[in-house]
């Protein structure tokens, strides 16, 4: 039986009914420039640590099995899925969540672009979409190819990037409201404004 107490206190939202045995590790994770020393059950994912231990509920739990992208965060500069990342494996890593983007009363350019382009409806996938899109723009500026690039030997160029390429680069983030055309528009707006992101 799942113990209510253990479900809430020790092992938040864990995929288990086995709460009798708990093996903790201590990790220091830097989240949005603030270091946190956490004592976590080895089974806890980065997603659950962010939401349930640090109260950063902007990172969303969609499928919790690596299929939807709602839990996307940036770890050491790369977009990753926090639902398939063990918190125990994040020692010393730098995590950026949606809460870490806006600063000094200013939205991040990608947040502003999603608002301007109406790139969401219900908003549940939006934090993951925005973090993913920020990295997609960085990757384009770095010139790296996607599967939609005609020839991987080419250096891609923000000015000539097709909508098909933007969709390919954003395919790891599902939107059940199907705001996709407006998400593509938001990504393009940031890409072509060449706003540093």
């Amino acid at each position: 039986m799942r113990s209510h107490e253990c479900f809430n206190r020790r092992v938040p939202a864990l995929w288990t009914d086995r709460c009798d045995e708990v093996i903790d590790v201590t990790v220091t994770i830097r989240v949005n420039d603030t270091p946190h020393e956490l004592s976590v059950d080895t089974r806890v994912t980065l997603l659950d640590a962010l939401r349930d231990l640090l109260g950063l509920t902007g990172t969303k739990k969609g499928c919790d099995q690596g299929a939807c992208g709602a839990c996307t965060v940036i770890v050491d500069g790369q977009r990753v899925l926090s639902c398939l990342t063990l918190a125990a494996a994040c020692e010393g890593q730098q995590v950026v969540t949606i809460e870490g983007l806006a600063g000094g009363g200013e939205l991040h350019p990608m947040q502003a672009a999603f608002l301007h382009c109406d790139g969401f409806q219900c908003g549940y996938c939006t934090p993951g979409q925005i973090l993913s899109a920020i990295c997609a723009v960085r990757e384009v500026h770095a010139g790296v190819p996607s599967y939609a690039t005609a020839d991987v030997r080419q250096t891609v160029n923000a000015a000539t990037l097709t909508d098909e390429e933007i969709r390919e680069r954003m395919s790891g983030n599902l939107c059940r409201c199907a705001a996709y055309p407006n998400i593509v528009a938001a990504v393009r707006q940031v890409l072509t404004n060449e706003v540093p992101s």
Binding site: T16, T42, L86, P145, S146
Partner: protein, 329 residues
């Protein structure tokens, strides 16, 4: 998920030694397969050994080969300028798989060792000889649209899901390992994955605790004339129904040598050697490619829902070779 201890080492020998000594230990790379399958109790390790901090995260380039550390991510490998220039088929194959987020996490060794996506394998309430030897195979008479038509047995028809491995197969990569007893060895890529036969639970030719340290990809003159074509149910973020990795060495319109790997239709990353031999010395025409495709799929056996893959794979092969032929190099 059952409780497990989490170990992190800085030397490959220590990681292999500790994992080898614990029968239920497993290595953690990017976790994109492992954590997923642990959540649904398909994998139940009591020890998880993090192998991303063993100094195995670099790509070293020489004239005759590149050496890729086991913990290099799929993205790092696909985006590396020398990989894109020398082995475009490898870069494209990797980029066709999963999503950027997953490729940023997944390691090269983890991709090689990833488990099948057969839905019966990942459902502990289903019968699966690969997960529980002797329990039967629900895929044989069940919903088997995504399953393999090559390399199958009456014990298992699960598809090997990797795109990257199909390219590594045609590039004659070598897999280097560290064993728990401290010795090292190298294994030709084609010998790493095992067809299910009567022991579908034995998926790779590695002993327990044997750690992949790096892979060597030898330079292949002519590898620039290559192509990876993946056919699937949606345009992106989906596994292959059929895929082909091809390399063509041409002299005018004649084929000096051809290489052909197949994904999405076989129980292992598939090298179609007989079709390759057929192509050598022939004209690079669509009809020649079709004949080669017939040879490549000659041994294929379809079941209730996946029979379409046999024709689909043949057409995929023809299109991939035609694209490679028409590439400007």
């Amino acid at each position: 998920m059952i409780a497990f201890t989490f170990e992190r080492f800085s030397r490959a020998a220590d990681a292999a030694n500790v994992a080898g000594a614990r029968p239920r230990a497993t290595f953690l790379g990017g976790g994109t397969t492992l954590v997923d399958l642990m959540k649904v109790d398909v994998l139940t390790p009591d020890t998880v050994v993090d192998v991303r901090h063993l100094g195995l995260s670099s790509i070293e380039v020489s004239d005759h080969a590149i050496a890729v550390g086991a913990a290099v991510t799929n993205s790092q490998l696909a985006w590396h300028p020398v990989v894109r220039e020398r082995f475009p088929v490898l870069s494209a194959a990797i980029l066709s798989g999963a999503s950027t987020q997953i490729r940023n996490m997944a390691t090269v060794a983890g991709n090689i060792l990833q488990r099948t996506r057969c839905p019966y394998f990942r459902d502990v309430h289903a019968s699966c000889n690969r997960r529980l030897p002797g329990s039967g195979c629900d895929a044989l008479e069940g919903f088997n649209r995504g399953h393999a038509v090559l390399g199958i047995s009456d014990q298992c028809i699960a598809t090997h899901p990797s795109d990257m491995c199909v390219a590594l197969a045609v590039l004659d990569a070598e897999v280097h390992t560290q064993r728990p007893d401290g010795t090292t060895r190298s294994i030709p890529f084609g010998d790493v994955h095992l067809a299910p036969g009567d022991t579908p639970q034995v998926e790779v030719a590695l002993e327990h605790g044997e750690l992949i340290t790096h892979i060597i990809i030898p330079s292949l003159p002519g590898a620039q004339r290559s192509h990876y074509l993946k056919v699937r149910d949606r345009a992106s973020y989906e596994f292959a129904l059929a895929s082909a990795a091809v390399v063509l060495d041409l002299e005018g319109e004649n084929i000096r040598a051809a290489r052909l790997g197949l994904g999405g239709i076989a129980t292992t990353p598939w090298r179609a050697s007989e079709a390759e031999r057929f192509l050598a010395g022939r004209t690079a025409s669509d009809s020649t490619f079709r004949e080669a495709a017939e040879i490549a799929l000659a041994g294929a056996v379809g079941r209730a829902h996946n029979h379409f893959k046999i024709e689909l794979a043949k057409r995929t092969i023809v299109r991939a070779f035609a694209a490679a032929r028409d590439t400007n190099v």
